[in-house]
Point group: C2
Chain length 194, copies 2
DNA sequence: ACCTGAACACCGTTCAAGT
DNA sequence: ACCTGAACACCGTTCAAGT
């Protein structure tokens, strides 16, 4: 916005941060190499020092939104009292879904990227592994764990698309709880709650 | 592909059909006015006779995929015997979800459009109204009916995104049934199954 | 009145010419 | 060795010049 001093040089970090800001403000189609360069007070070609491609830049954006999700950060506002030890998977997966939703709602304009890019960001992969581990220690098979995580993740992305036009916390909460209930019931179909 | 005779003239229908074929074959980013025109043996400017904009063309694509969904066409493969009369909403909403999923899997490259465009296609709106009516006659409030329809629709779109990379029928079926169960249970929390 | 070529203001990216 | 301007092959769309 204001004039920039010379010595502050470019970095991949700075390029991506500015790209995300541009997309947040003006939408994904406003992200062009030339316009991004203008915001950074440099030429379009200089960006190619820090980014291989436009596709690479979009991948970086995708990773930036997905990175640093903290499943523990957002606690389940359930009224039921849960045995925290036994249902750790539920707390973690619910927290992951809420964290993902809030990240997507913070950056709604990047949502189209989630329809075409796989989850490769190392931080996101690590987070998924942590949630998966909670399932496995609750005696889920790893196939069932993966299914549970994906079904909730896909609902969350789908719901965030809906919420671009009208935010709706109760619908999200309803769908999330229904899925978590379904996962819990499928895992222990015979037992009753203590 | 082969040479085309002159008298076959353009129409909005033909422009949209060819655009969808192009997107199916080569992806959304391959859809340009010039390339579409080349496939139709005409000049890019001629397309503007039948389409206001590129945005208008994309809306038409979105509507073409969404149009003509038949909730009755795909029956629920549930093992449970259901009272068809009482749970008509469940049959219809499940059928709508399955019809939507199969339409999205038939045209996976249009999925990014579903992250940015509202459902305006008249046929799709009519179908939604029919499903909504089934809920209302089962004594759902219209707000609850809308919530139920959206939560399932958003899951379906999210799941179709996931299935672009790996098709997974059992995950879809699991999530759908969990949501329908949740809707049913929320609606009649006290009663038991007959 | 209808249609369409050339033209405009953009793109992403290459590459040779500069330092 | 590093950087970057001009240039290339594209875009969507306008508009005046043709019929």
């Amino acid at each position: 916005m204001s004039a920039r001093r010379q010595p502050i040089s470019l970095s991949r970090e700075r390029v991506c941060t500015e790209a995300l800001a541009l997309v947040d403000e003006e939408g994904l189609e406003a992200l062009t190499m030339r316009r991004l360069a203008a915001r950074l007070d440099c030429e379009a070609m200089s960006l190619y020092r820090h980014v291989k491609d436009k596709a690479d830049l979009l991948d970086a954006l995708h990773a930036a939104v997905l990175g640093a999700l903290q499943p523990e950060g957002i606690l389940e506002p359930s009224r039921r009292v849960l045995d925290a030890r036994r249902l750790e998977w539920r707390i973690l997966l619910g927290g992951l879904a809420r964290a993902l939703r809030s990240a997507l709602l913070r950056h709604p304009n990047v949502l189209p990227l989630f329809t075409s890019r796989p989850v490769n960001a190392p931080e996101a992969v690590a987070t998924l592994a942590r949630v998966q581990a909670a399932f496995v220690s609750a005696r889920f098979t790893s196939a069932d764990a993966e299914r549970a995580i994906y079904v909730v993740g896909m609902f969350t992305i789908g719901h965030a698309i809906f919420e671009k036009s009208t935010r709706n916390d109760s619908t999200f909460r309803f769908g999330l709880e229904a899925l978590l209930d379904g996962i819990e019931r499928a895992h222990r179909p015979s037992r009753r709650r203590p």
